[in-house]
């Protein structure tokens, strides 16, 4: 399947307040929940203003599994290696590789904000992270539609750097996409720049009868 690019305007992304609370690790029943809500609302416009959300995904066939190396070979070009990713993709015929970013402008603004006031900086960071979730949900919706039309179901989302899938595999994952048009790069520790970017996969496997 060809690569799919998604573009959004900053204003069409919804902010999921429950998600922000979760990221801040504040219980919804926090005694000062209302004050926190107001603080979040106060930083939201500044974050939204600087969003340049972009996303990309590509659904590729899984061509081989090499048990002795715990490796999965995709579309002939990329190899994912690790106990976790090997297991997660068991029984899958396809994988959907994705990358999303909120852009460079937000990064520098978050850094500045953090210096001006660490609390606002941290709140802004969590608001931005919640926006990445909104973009994720959009990508997931499309991938799910494609899968359901073929009686396939999605495995839980998974990213390099999480348990059982080394961060180095950002490279083969990036090779499946066109990261230049997204303007996302990896640094020498395999972290993504801009920072508010998320990459990963869903496995697609036949629905159980």
């Amino acid at each position: 399947m060809p690569l799919v690019e998604l573009r959004f305007s900053a204003n069409e992304l919804e902010l999921d307040l429950a998600q922000v609370f979760k990221l801040l690790k504040l219980p919804r029943q926090h005694p000062q929940a209302e004050e926190w809500r107001q603080r979040i609302a106060a930083v939201e416009p500044r974050v939204r203003e600087r969003l340049e959300p972009k996303a990309q995904y590509r659904i590729v066939p899984i061509e081989a599994r090499l048990p002795e190396r715990q490796t999965v070979v995709l579309a002939g070009e990329a190899r994912f290696t690790g106990r976790g990713v090997y297991r997660r993709l068991a029984g899958c015929r396809h994988a959907a590789a994705f990358l999303l970013t909120l852009g460079h402008r937000l990064d520098s603004s978050l850094r500045q904000c953090n210096q001006d006031d660490p609390l606002d900086g941290y709140l802004s960071d969590c608001v931005a992270a919640a926006f990445t979730h909104s973009v994720l949900r959009r990508i997931e919706r499309e991938v799910r539609q494609w899968a359901e039309a073929r009686r396939l179901q999605l495995t839980p989302r998974y990213s390099p750097g999480y348990h059982g899938w080394p961060l180095q595999d950002q490279r083969p994952l990036f090779s499946l996409l066109q990261t230049e048009t997204m303007n996302v790069k990896l640094n020498d520790q395999f972290f993504m720049i801009p920072q508010k970017s998320v990459s990963g996969i869903w496995g697609l496997k036949p629905e159980k009868a």
Binding site: L26, D117, P118, Q189, Q195
Partner: protein, 211 residues
């Protein structure tokens, strides 16, 4: 009466009540208490409680930041007075979060406390490469180089910095901290000091300089 007001100030820090912290600080000064006593017996104990509650998972980062903001507001009133009474300065600390790491909340609290205690602190910010530590240590004539790391993938870099400082023959003490750092790790990488929180960082820095 001082005691009660100091307790209230500690509580204002714990609650993150910035206005209250400012008011109480001014009241205590008006009542004739010295800035240093307000710091040691009001702000520090308050922040200690906050740090302990954070480690016990009773509160979370946003609440730590609110408390830090209240503390900062009070310190802004105290700092000029502290600076005047502390001359000559206790010593110079050059501090930063190491390369590859952007966590700076803890480091910034440490800076606040060190400044409050009369240290001159040069903040190198986040994602700091070894060269920058070296250069600043030299140019600022630092007594102590402080390093913060919150990631298991970046804590190893502290060793690189310490080795470079030694290789260049710089006579500075080194002090490390951050959630994943243990005393054993600090020793293993050849750091002169480790502290698990900001109040201890002040004690450790003083001990390292023998003041």
């Amino acid at each position: 009466m001082h005691k009660e007001l100091l307790q209230q100030l500690a509580q204002a820090v714990i609650d993150g009540n910035k206005d209250q912290a400012e008011t109480l600080t001014n009241q205590l000064l008006d009542a004739g208490l010295e800035a240093k006593a307000i710091l040691d017996n009001g702000l520090m104990p308050g922040m200690d409680v906050v740090g302990q509650r954070f480690r016990d998972n009773l509160i979370f980062v946003p609440e730590v930041l609110i408390a830090a903001r209240a503390m900062k507001a009070s310190l802004a009133i105290l700092e000029p007075l502290l600076a005047a009474s502390n001359a000559p300065q206790v010593g110079t600390v050059v501090i930063g979060t190491v390369k590859g790491d952007i966590h700076d909340i803890g480091k910034n609290i440490v800076i606040m406390m060190l400044r409050g205690a009369g240290f001159r602190v040069v903040d190198l910010g986040i994602d700091t490469p070894a060269e920058k530590f070296l250069q600043a240590a030299r140019e600022e004539n630092a007594d102590i180089v402080g390093m913060s790391a919150l990631l298991t993938t970046t804590m190893g870099y502290m060793k690189t910095v310490i080795e470079r400082l030694k290789a260049e023959g710089l006579r500075v003490k080194t002090m490390v901290g951050g959630a994943p750092i243990s005393p054993a790790f600090a020793e293993q990488i050849g750091a002169d000091g480790y502290a698990k929180n900001a109040a201890e960082a002040v004690d450790k820095a003083k001990a390292l300089l023998g003041v």
